[in-house]
């Protein structure tokens, strides 16, 4: 299924946020059941040349006739010529995306949203705690750290999935380890052939000793997991100002106009998706928020 390329391609960043530009699917990587990464290349060289993104940001991916979905960028920010989106097929738009083939074209608006504080994290230890589809928005941060490894202290990736076959990017773990990232992987359930860890992501905090005042925690995943990751960080006396969470809610417009993704005074699409925890604290773990 191919979407038709648009003749007008707004190249300026402000236009790009309002009107989709067109990008071709260059490759598709099957990551796990119901999850694939789509590698997109902008069809307009001027758009490609101007496009940059920060780790943690997302694009609105548009499929004519179906609509748009907010999708985190999961690729290397140092190479924005090929933009990766790891997508779980859960709704009308993403299921339609699942039927795309290499060579098809989609619309893209973005990048949107706040991002992981890579600059502020320099000189600190970094704990990246994520679960399931929460890893893709953090993979650009991992690449950024690998690209600038000497600027960061100890780096830990604590990653969990439902079962071993649900783990994303397992072939990259060794490379990340070689780059000095301590990778701890766990699954919620397994059969007896699984040699790795079984348990939940927050428990991985017990696997290492943390220099809490000098640590920054980045977390993304199911909100219930985020809640307990934050508890573990705070229990070890990581300051709330050094914990960052990325939230996903029903983002529609991508610019804080429609209100679908509101959390307290914030719009996840505009003010987030990445928040410093102290800003969210009053609304976190509060029913109805």
């Amino acid at each position: 299924m191919a979407a038709h390329a648009h003749t007008h391609s707004p190249a300026s960043p402000s236009e790009r946020l309002l009107e989709p530009v067109w990008a071709q699917v260059m490759d598709i990587t099957n990551e796990a059941e119901g999850i694939s990464t789509y590698w997109l290349k902008f069809t307009d060289p001027a758009v490609e040349a101007a496009y940059t993104f920060e780790p943690g940001q997302f694009n609105m991916v548009y499929l004519p006739g179906y609509g748009e979905a907010a999708i985190s960028i999961s690729s290397n920010p140092a190479d924005p010529t090929l933009v990766g989106h790891t997508i779980r097929f859960v709704g009308n738009v993403t299921r339609a995306i699942s039927r795309l083939k290499v060579g098809d074209v989609v619309g893209v608006r973005g990048p949107f949203g706040s991002y992981w504080p890579m600059k502020e994290m320099e000189g600190h230890d970094v704990i990246i705690a994520c679960g399931g589809i929460g890893l893709p928005p953090l993979r650009p941060a991992i690449y950024h750290i690998m690209n600038n490894r000497e600027k960061f202290g100890k780096v830990y990736l604590l990653y969990g999935a439902r079962t071993p076959k649900d783990l994303l990017y397992p072939t990259e773990f060794e490379e990340w380890e070689r780059a000095g990232i301590q990778v701890q992987v766990t699954v919620d359930r397994a059969d007896e052939d699984w040699q790795g860890q079984v348990g939940v992501v927050p428990m991985l905090f017990y696997r290492f000793r943390m220099d809490a005042p000098n640590s920054v925690v980045l977390t993304c995943g199911p909100e219930i997991m985020i809640r307990f990751v934050v508890y573990e960080g705070l229990a070890r006396r990581v300051p709330a100002e050094q914990i960052y969470v990325s939230l996903e809610r029903n983002m529609k417009c991508g610019q804080g106009s429609c209100g679908h993704c509101q959390l307290g005074p914030y719009f996840i699409c505009k003010d987030g998706p990445v928040f410093r925890f102290d800003a969210l604290q009053p609304y976190f773990n509060v029913e109805e928020f």
Binding site: G34, G67, E68, A69, A70, R88, V90, G91, N92, V93, T94, G131, G132, G160, A161, R162, D166, T186, D188, R189, A190, D191, E192, W194, Q195, G196, Q197, V198, G199, V200, P202, M203, Y206, R207, G221, P222, I224, M225, F228, N250, H260
Partner: protein, 162 residues
């Protein structure tokens, strides 16, 4: 090295044991022994008498439950400094409710559960420290089980999903 000294040396690598008074460390070491297990070796099986608490010193131990007809389900792994078989320290648990198997070659300290209970009865200061530690273990395992039960990675029922 004398086996008891070796055991104490191993235990003192664990932060909780480093906080114990020497007399309490000696008391626990006196009812404990070291055990090495090979990858694949079964430490205990469901239904076995629960006689020891184990502390993983190195390696990884998996806890499995047989769930007919699904087979063996692995629900927890214990890495260094984790405790398995904690429920045998309680007065009412006599049987293993899961099987424990070494995932890789592992070394463990095994503490005689009945004698530990006796020591705790005799020395309430030690009893308080042991039960406080056990309550932390139970709390973290309960939290872990709760999150597993929630199946938090399951695809959410979300009619607004894009």
């Amino acid at each position: 090295m004398d086996p008891l000294d070796e055991l104490k040396l191993e235990l003192q690598k664990i932060p909780w044991f480093r906080e114990l008074q020497i007399k309490h460390l000696d008391m626990i070491a006196g009812i404990s022994q070291l055990r090495n297990v090979k990858a694949g070796e079964v430490l205990f099986r469901e239904g076995d008498r629960a006689e020891y608490i184990y502390i993983v010193l190195s390696g990884r131990i998996a806890l499995d439950m047989a769930v007919p007809p699904r087979g063996k389900m692995r629900f927890h792994t214990a890495d260094p400094w984790e405790v398995i078989g904690w429920s045998s320290a309680t007065p009412v648990v006599h049987q293993r409710t899961a099987s424990a198997t070494a995932v890789v070659d592992s070394r463990l300290a095994m503490i005689d559960s009945a004698r530990l209970r006796e020591l705790c009865d005799q020395d309430h200061d030690l009893g308080y420290l042991v039960m406080r530690r056990l309550s932390n273990i139970v709390a973290s395992r309960l939290m872990s089980s709760r999150l597993q039960l929630l199946d938090m990675f399951a695809e959410p029922e979300n009619k607004n999903a894009k």
